[in-house]
């Protein structure tokens, strides 16, 4: 192997990389917040929601979980304009991430709710709480606490999956890497550096979510 590695381009390309990182972080922050919110709403429907809505949510979850994120993204960005729904690349990317995470987190949160003893619902009812109040105040928080590690992993997976949004020209980290390597012709080094950045982001996000779990669910709540 006679190839000479060259990382000299790194300094000049730093602003582009940083902008890419910023967009990726922004995408996952918005995606995580709204995605988990959507997941909670869907989990509520599947546990206690109106009967007619249940099959709708079940279909949504199954459809999303069994198709690639890339195709969901293409469908939203290229397919929906045929119905007159147009949006910018970033909006489409965000929407795709929210819809994707919503389906996965619905399944995860549902598992947490199913693990809640029946008595909790009954106890809530005996205190004259409405089913929704019971869900919100009694069931949801312990359920979230139970599945927090799985939910965190899923958020990290969605963050890593967001590398694909470069394909609809949303200017995330991968887009930045593509842009840089088309200028410096140092494809391997460029992708190597951005892979390391993704790794760092994944580790950071994992720590952040672990810390958030620590804050949201103090120990005493569980035992």
């Amino acid at each position: 192997m006679t190839y000479q590695f060259d990382f000299g381009w790194l300094i000049d390309s730093l602003p582009v990389l940083l902008k890419g990182i910023r967009i990726t972080v922004q995408l996952i922050l918005i995606g995580a917040v709204f995605g988990v919110a959507l997941g909670i709403a869907c989990a509520w429907v599947r546990a206690l929601g109106p009967k007619w809505l249940k099959p709708v949510v079940a279909t949504y979850v199954e459809l999303i979980r069994n198709t690639p994120f890339l195709i969901q993204l293409f469908f939203i960005f290229f397919g929906l304009p045929s119905l007159g729904i147009r949006m910018s690349e970033l909006t489409a990317a965000n929407l795709a991430m929210i819809v994707n995470l919503g389906a996965y987190s619905c399944e995860i949160i549902r598992a947490g709710i199913q693990a809640t003893p029946r008595g909790q619902f009954e106890a809530g009812a005996s205190l004259a709480m409405t089913p929704f109040q019971t869900f919100w105040h009694v069931v949801l928080v312990p359920a979230l606490q139970r599945i927090w590690p799985a939910l965190s992993s899923q958020i990290v997976i969605v963050m890593l999956g967001s590398a694909v949004v470069s394909q609809i020209a949303a200017e995330d980290l991968t887009f930045a890497a593509n842009f840089i390597q088309s200028r410096n012709f140092r494809a391997f080094e460029t992708y190597f550096v951005s892979t390391l950045i993704y790794l760092a982001l994944a580790i950071l996000l994992r720590q952040l979510l672990a810390g958030l779990g620590w804050m949201l669910f103090p120990r005493k709540a569980s035992r």
Binding site: L63, N66, F78, Q167
Partner: protein, 219 residues
């Protein structure tokens, strides 16, 4: 300009879906073999080996598959090989699958009670014998549902190989869209074909889990 009927679109997509299936099978088989090797190193190998395989798993689980594909595509090229897209796709997907399968299987092996290791060790079995005759037969039962479940991720993962230019279902979708200007129909069909491939796998994973009664054994 030629007109494309619905049937033309569907036929072309289905023809391309063959390659999605082939690539999935290759990745899953290859990933299974590499993953098994990783598993053996991860739980039984020497310290250094354990450390290495743990690092490998962390690395591949902590970086986007897309980046791994790019690195395989451009990295193999550094050795002076002319890398076709299918080769880079296979290499990256096998390595990626291996990392996840090794981690899934590790969980299954660790779910086997410690006494089983000790009992087999007291019978004078070596590490490989313990694995072969005592641990793996039990772990296998636990491992089937999550392994089948992960195969769904592999099928969906193959969609990314379209980005480095491997013509499978997703790439065919883009090509057909460019020819027909009917993105809604085409991507809708592509999604449905993926669904038809993945849904039976998801469902059978769920059914197997219920049948083998693994998840609820402790209730």
């Amino acid at each position: 300009m030629t007109e494309f009927s619905f049937w033309d679109i569907l036929r072309n997509l289905l023809l391309a879906a063959r390659w999605t299936v082939v690539l999935s099978l290759v990745s899953f088989t290859g990933g299974g073999i590499v993953g098994a090797a990783l598993l053996f190193l991860r739980i039984g190998g020497r310290r250094g080996m354990q450390f290495l395989s743990r690092g490998y798993i962390q690395l591949f689980q902590g970086t986007p598959l897309l980046m791994q594909l790019f690195l395989a595509f451009f990295g193999l090229g550094l050795f002076g090989i002319d890398v076709p897209a299918w080769l880079a796709a296979c290499v990256a997907l096998i390595l990626w699958t291996a990392a996840f399968l090794a981690e899934i299987w590790r969980g299954c092996v660790e779910s086997i009670a410690k006494g089983q290791w000790e009992a087999s060790a007291s019978l004078g079995m070596g590490y490989l014998q313990q694995m072969r005759y005592v641990i793996l037969p039990q772990a296998l039962k636990v491992a089937v549902p999550p392994t089948v479940g992960f195969s769904v991720q592999v099928v969906k993962g193959t969609a990314l190989t379209s980005i480095i230019g491997f013509v499978e279902l997703s790439k065919a979708g883009s090509i057909v869209t460019n020819a027909t200007f009917q993105p809604f129909t085409v991507y809708g069909l592509v999604a449905l074909i993926y669904f038809a491939l993945c849904w039976p796998l998801s469902k059978s994973s769920q059914l197997l889990e219920r049948k083998l009664n693994v998840a609820h054994r402790n209730h």
